[in-house]
């Protein structure tokens, strides 16, 4: 048995602690973000009425752009991390897990960058 460090031994965190905490925080933020999105886009406006004019109108407002950017960041990060957790139940090797994490991170990064470019960049008239 290795020698024990003398007490007091304070609590430590790990990257999984951070991932777990972010998962909870993003979930709390997603409640208003996703519900707001669904209620406005799908119920009040309706998917069939979403035209380029409507999109341009939303693009014109900085507030809506910030809202959509926040939705994109939190929803997709939340989903990607959730996917990691599910897949790691089945993928047990250390190397395989590392490959999975890097792949998911790159996937998340590229989709988020693409989405952010569209949301923030807007339409070129």
């Amino acid at each position: 048995m290795p020698a024990r460090a003398p007490s007091p031994a304070p609590l430590r965190r790990s990257w999984l602690t951070v991932a777990w905490t972010l998962m909870r925080l993003s979930a709390i933020l997603l409640v208003p973000l996703v519900w707001g999105h669904v209620i406005i886009q799908d119920m009040l406006v309706g998917v069939h009425k979403i035209s380029l004019d409507y999109v341009a109108m939303r693009w014109a407002s900085l507030g809506w752009r910030a809202y959509d950017a926040a939705l994109l960041c939190f929803a997709f990060a939340h989903g990607s991390n959730g996917l990691r957790q599910v897949l790691e139940d089945y993928i047990h090797g250390q190397t395989a897990r590392r490959i999975l994490r890097v792949a998911l991170f790159l996937f998340w990064l590229s989709i988020t960058a693409l989405g952010a470019a569209a949301v923030i960049g807007g339409v070129r008239q």
């Binding site: 007490s7 007091p8 031994a9 304070p10 430590r12 965190r13 991932a19 777990w20 047990h92 897990r97």
Partner: protein, 233 residues
């Protein structure tokens, strides 16, 4: 009443695969499943193998899957189950023979949280015990009730999917010392809970709480351990 007792058997010296044995026994509603197992072994098939020791719900050695739920055979009455009783070994653990599973990985997880009081500070001035108020004792009372039977860990789908997860029982033990006002080893008890084997694998499925024969609020204890780590206590 006549009870149809169906038991999942395994004996690598006899057959490579598991098989089912069916017994018919006369039983009273107040009989325990353990009584039926003992009678089946004594009267019908001496090769039937299972663990039991205290027979009173204290030692934790006769945890098994009874009609699909992990329970102690000595605390489960025939009355609760009806006339058809199916008994299997705990899931997620390697079966050695019949209802006997290999508890060593489970106990290794238990040891990994250093389940003992850690405090290197000098003793109090009177040189006697480290005192604790009733309220401080109450803080971790629930998790002192664990008998390490394995019902909770063997009911956890995360553990089934990945046996390296320490499982609820080990986290309950970490909780018991983490919230003890006399303990100074929080970092040591939780060190093994920080990586992929640890507490973050818990998905709050509540299977552990439902299966605990001691009725420990296990999922709540796990949440308290997570919270302590996130907040630094």
């Amino acid at each position: 009443m006549l009870v149809a007792l169906k038991i999942k058997r395994f004996d690598p010296e006899r057959k490579p695969a598991a098989w089912w044995s069916n017994y018919k026994l006369e039983a009273a509603p107040g009989d325990r499943v353990l009584d039926l197992l003992v009678r089946a072994k004594d009267e019908l098939d001496g090769s039937l193998t299972f663990r039991r020791s205290c027979a009173h719900g204290i030692c934790g050695s006769d945890a098994m899957r009874i009609n699909g739920t992990n329970r102690l055979a000595c605390k489960t009455l025939v009355r609760e189950l009806g006339s058809r009783i199916t008994v299997e070994p705990l899931l997620g653990m390697r079966v050695e023979k019949d209802l006997v599973v290999d508890m060593e990985p489970f106990l290794a997880s238990y040891r990994s949280v250093k389940p003992y009081l850690i405090n290197d500070e000098p003793l109090p001035a009177d040189g006697r015990e480290r005192r604790q108020s009733p309220a401080e004792r109450l803080r971790f009372d629930d998790t002192t009730k664990c008998i390490l039977c394995g019902c909770c860990t063997a009911a956890c789908p995360v553990f089934w999917a990945d046996g390296e997860y320490v499982g609820p029982a080990a986290i309950v033990q970490a909780h018991r010392f983490l919230f003890d006002s006399r303990d100074r080893g929080a970092g040591e008890h939780t060190a093994a809970l920080l990586d992929m084997k640890g507490v973050w694998r818990c998905r709050t499925i509540f299977q552990c709480t439902l299966s605990c024969p001691r009725e420990i609020k296990i999922t709540q204890a796990i949440a308290e351990v997570k919270q302590a780590i996130v907040l630094g206590k």
